[in-house]
């Protein structure tokens, strides 16, 4: 495929003496579904926090579409086209479903404070336009019956989809999904796989995801990277990677491999 949308070069991050991420170098090619897997505490979420600007890496470079994004403020990284979802949901619970998504459209708004306060025609026009766009996303995520409901009243699976919709509303080029299938049953996981593929194809977004669910990863990812204790232990196509001894050891321990 074409040039990498995300390129990470020698990235390390230490929490005091703990090497959370140690010398990562990898590229995420445009248009793929890329998986980052590894046991608990292996540095996956830290890696996402580094890319989205929540942490600044101790060493190394992060290039997004060829542009250095280390040190850029998190909200500006979002403006450049990286969106993410969270492992433990971070929903705006006391806002309606439609408002949750509209927050993510805010930075594209061209209407200033005064036209909004006075509800001038320019404000009303943009409001209508935004609502239509957001409703399309809501329909895509099968949340249309819930549009005006408070987010806190939604069941878990729908909240997951709401978070994906909110991330998509920023019109990203790269979407980071932090354990999208966590807590989902097999049927829901199946639906989610279809959804992620559809999102990639329809919105032309590169997907970079973290996951524990092996079935999910092998079923959807086109490339995976396996990490443990902050270092890379395997990289490649999912069907090859899962066969590697190191990977099996990291996941299941030595004994299980012998069995």
């Amino acid at each position: 495929m074409s040039a990498p949308v995300l390129s990470i070069q020698g990235m390390s991050h230490y929490f005091g003496g703990l090497k959370a991420v140690s010398d990562f170098t990898f590229d995420v090619p445009e248009g793929v579904i890329y998986g980052l897997i590894g046991p608990n505490g292996s540095g996956k979420t830290t890696c996402f926090n580094l890319i989205t600007g929540i942490y600044t890496p101790t060493q190394g470079k992060i290039l997004f579409q060829g542009e250095e994004i280390v040190g850029v403020k998190p909200y500006k990284i979002v403006h450049k086209g990286i969106a993410r979802t969270f492992q433990n949901l971070r929903i705006f619970s006391n806002l309606s479903v439609i408002d949750n998504i509209r927050v993510a459209r805010h930075f594209n708004s061209k209407v200033g404070l005064f036209p909004s306060l006075l509800r001038l025609p320019s404000f009303l026009k943009e409001q209508e336009q935004t609502r239509d766009e957001v409703m399309d996303l809501i329909k895509l995520m099968h949340l249309d019956k819930r549009a005006n409901e408070m987010a806190k009243n939604l069941p878990y699976g729908e909240l997951r989809r709401l978070e994906v919709a909110r991330a998509l509303a920023t019109k990203p080029k790269l979407m980071l999904l932090d354990e999208p299938a966590a807590g989902m049953n097999p049927k829901e996981t199946e639906d989610l796989m279809k959804l992620v593929r559809r999102v990639r194809d329809e919105f032309k977004v590169t997907i970079f995801l973290i996951e524990h669910h092996m079935k999910f990863v092998t079923g959807i990812c086109e490339r995976v990277k396996v990490i443990d204790f902050g270092t890379t232990i395997a990289e490649g196509k999912p069907e090859d990677v899962v066969k590697e001894t190191k990977v099996l050891e990291a996941y299941l321990g030595r004994k299980a491999v012998v069995c």
């Binding site: 993410r84 408002d99 909004s116």
Partner: protein
């Protein structure tokens, strides 16, 4: 049909205005009650704008009355200097009054920016301490500037704030706050309250919106301070101390964090309660003979706050708004 429907808030405002005016004209409400109603409306502005900072943007400000003090002293000084020829019934003088009030609001907004910009990087308790300190600093400064009367207060401010003027300012403040909350900018502020990290990672410049909420809140608090000064004809440092700020806080919590409706109801009920308690305590002291003073109102307020925190954490309205304050969007 749809276009013929007058906005609900305009009807509600007009009905309230008409009823009070009729009661004044028929003599049912004497001057004393009119002053209490005027004070209530000024407190509506103060409580609703504090709610913008504390309830809607999710920050914690303890010095809201400091902004009102800036507005009161700036506008009061302007009108007192020009006072000798001022006449509340002359059109030109009313324009000067209007300009003075707006300038007072702008002064408060500038101070709000200067305080908010460095301190809104702090979270929770730390921000509360900074704003608490700020409120006291303003009070102390005013206490020590001889030009504005020092501890004696700024005296001889012309009486420009009547029922109509205060009503109009209160009404438009509520309209603008409602419009703000139901706009993209307002949703950005709400999202900070809900989850600051998710807000930032949805592309919201959280620092900018925290400061903006603070500055808008300070602006309207300054206007309210100006109105109060021109109602009482005096601006005194003790009116704007921590005691007054904490009453505003009680109004916001009692009404419901994030609910403008709640702030309006609480501002009216607590202002009337204060007066009721004053009358009640005087009666207890003078007629029954129990030796207590009006400072006991603060004890009752403290108990009220404890009661709210224990049994009705979300306040009277919670986060709900009355239908009157919600602009209906086209259903989808």
């Amino acid at each position: 049909m749809d276009k013929l429907r007058l906005p609900k808030l305009a009807i509600a405002g007009a009905v309230f205005y008409a009823i009070v005016q009729i009661l004044i004209l028929t003599g049912v409400l004497n001057g004393y009650f009119v002053v209490i109603i005027n004070r209530s409306m000024i407190f509506v502005i103060l409580a609703a704008t504090l709610n913008l900072i504390n309830g809607i943007t999710g920050q914690f400000s303890l010095g809201h009355m400091g902004f009102a003090a800036v507005g009161a002293y700036v506008s009061g000084t302007i009108t007192t200097i020009l006072c000798t020829h001022m006449n509340p019934h002359a059109f030109g003088d009313n324009l000067i009054f209007l300009a003075a009030i707006i300038l007072g609001g702008c002064g408060a907004a500038v101070v709000g920016f200067l305080i908010g910009f460095p301190s809104l990087r702090l979270k929770g308790d730390y921000l509360a301490i900074v704003t608490l300190g700020f409120g006291e600093i303003i009070r102390t400064i005013l206490n020590n500037i001889a030009y504005v009367g020092g501890p004696r207060g700024l005296l001889g401010i012309p009486k420009f704030s009547g029922f109509t003027v205060i009503f109009l300012f209160t009404f438009f403040t509520i309209v603008l706050l409602r419009n703000l909350v139901q706009s993209s900018h307002g949703r950005a502020m709400l999202s900070i309250r809900e989850n600051e990290l998710a807000s930032e990672l949805s592309g919201v410049d959280t620092t900018k919106y925290k400061v903006l909420g603070f500055v808008i809140g300070a602006f309207f608090a300054g206007i309210a301070g100006g109105l109060l000064a021109h109602l009482l004809q005096i601006a005194h440092p003790t009116q704007y101390g921590f005691y007054a700020s904490s009453i505003l806080l009680i109004m916001v919590y009692a009404g419901g964090m994030g609910s403008l409706t709640g702030s309006i109801i609480a501002a009216f009920s607590l202002t009337f309660l204060t007066e009721g308690l004053r009358v009640g305590i005087d009666w207890l002291r003078d007629t029954v003979g129990i030796p207590i003073g009006t400072e006991w109102t603060m004890v009752i307020y403290a108990l009220l706050l404890i009661f709210i925190m224990l049994y009705k954490t979300e306040g009277f309205m919670g986060m709900r708004e009355s239908k009157i304050l919600v602009i209906e969007e086209k259903k989808v």
